[in-house]
């Protein structure tokens, strides 16, 4: 499977590596408190692989043992893919004003956190929520109280949440901020293969770059 890099270089991943990337994206999305960058290349390539395999299986003999083994693998991959997409939708519904605001103020070169379909979903969800609040309560309020700022009233993701992670690429000099006034900040080294419990905010860029894996 071929995936385009940010700099328009084609990264050719083997199907096995592709599945591993999907799994990593799934786990990161599950444990990160905020919505992560969308991974359209991974999704597209996985769907392509699944469609291709299903087309092959249609032509094969029914009741063959091989066919059932292939089907089992397909079900497993579909499960991870669906769970990943559902996890993202849950976060979109939970943090929609902040996500849309972030998308609005995104610079041109920066990658989007929403796929085009997710963006459409988020906008529709926001519009529906606004209409619902208006019809159920706001239009019955005195005129000067009929506005509500969703950006202010919907809670933001808590980037200070603690997360568990495994280190994929060694990182030096990660600054750990103190929890209390009596403590001082200190630097740690994240050795490859080690596992840690730490605040998400400290390692957010490492999750995005793939240097660490949330678990």
């Amino acid at each position: 499977a071929a995936m385009a890099d940010g700099e328009d270089e084609e990264l050719v991943l083997s199907p096995a590596q592709l599945l591993l990337s999907l799994e990593q994206a799934w786990l990161n999305e599950k444990f990160a408190p905020e919505l992560l960058e969308s991974k359209p290349e991974i999704i597209e390539c996985v769907v392509e692989q699944l469609d291709h395999m299903e087309a092959n299986l249609k032509r094969a003999k029914r009741g063959d043992l091989k066919v059932s083994v292939h089907h089992m693998e397909i079900e497993r991959i579909r499960y991870v893919l669906s769970s990943y997409l559902r996890c993202r939708l849950v976060k979109i519904e939970k943090f929609f004003p902040h996500i849309l605001e972030k998308e609005k103020s995104r610079a041109d070169g920066e990658p989007s956190i929403l796929s085009p379909e997710e963006f459409a979903f988020a906008k529709e969800y926001m519009a529906n929520t606004e209409t619902h609040l208006k019809n159920v309560a706001l239009k019955h309020m005195p005129p000067n109280l009929q506005k509500v700022s969703l950006l202010k009233s919907v809670p933001k993701p808590n980037l200070d949440s603690f997360v568990f992670l495994r280190v994929l690429e060694r990182q030096e000099n990660i600054l750990v901020e103190p929890e209390t006034d009596e403590q001082r900040e200190y630097a740690i080294t994240l050795e490859e293969g080690s596992q840690h419990l730490i605040r998400y905010k400290t390692v957010a860029p490492l999750v995005a770059s793939g240097a660490v894996q949330l678990i």
Binding site: L65, H70, Y79, F164, V176, T180, Q195, H196, I215
Partner: protein, 185 residues
């Protein structure tokens, strides 16, 4: 994460089976398996091994660490040390459960193995609870958990991180004038 999801990940581990059927190589998206010949051991992922076993198409060969002597050593070391022993498999708990539930007839001294693994698990989870407790009390900002497996982290993980979140919210609300995430109304 649900325990079933951790088990889902564990099912990718390879295990040796002895098939009673013939099949040439299967080219799965994730890699090649086989060929399968009756009586000849071959490695397959656990999800397939369990399925084939259920269809009576193979017998399973337990991993070399799934042995009473070895597990006794591990259990004793776990009880002796304050730190976590490196486990022979990052999915020791899941694999033990799966193999003993579906293929106990292929595993010598299965009951003893079940007990030994459970004892080791209990010791480790107790240590983890103590560590988590001291982490919260001393308001640590970071912890290293190298020899813990995913299932163990997952068992206490959600509770611990949610508890830390609550404490953080309570603490930041104690400090007036700080830019907290609370609502304006």
């Amino acid at each position: 994460m649900e325990p079933a999801e951790v088990e889902f990940l564990a099912e990718k581990e390879l295990v040796t089976i002895v098939p009673n059927f013939s099949l040439d190589r299967i080219h799965l998206i994730g890699g090649d398996l086989g060929p399968f010949n009756p009586g000849l051991p071959v490695e397959v992922p656990v999800w397939l091994a369990i399925n084939l076993k259920q269809r009576q198409k193979c017998r399973l060969i337990p991993p070399e660490w799934m042995d009473v002597g070895r597990l006794e050593e591990i259990r004793d070391q776990e009880r002796k040390e304050d730190t976590f022993t490196p486990m022979p498999s990052p999915y020791y708990m899941e694999l033990t459960n799966l193999l003993l539930n579906y293929a106990s007839d292929n595993i010598p001294r299965a009951d003893e193995i079940r007990t030994l693994v459970k004892d080791t698990w209990d010791t480790r989870v107790a240590k983890l609870r103590l560590s988590a407790d001291s982490f919260v009390r001393q308001q640590e900002a970071h912890a290293k958990l190298d020899n813990l497996t995913l299932m163990e982290i997952n068992t206490t993980g959600t509770f611990l991180t949610q508890a830390l979140d609550h404490m953080y919210k309570l603490r930041t609300n104690l400090q007036p004038g700080e830019s907290s995430q609370s609502q304006d109304f």
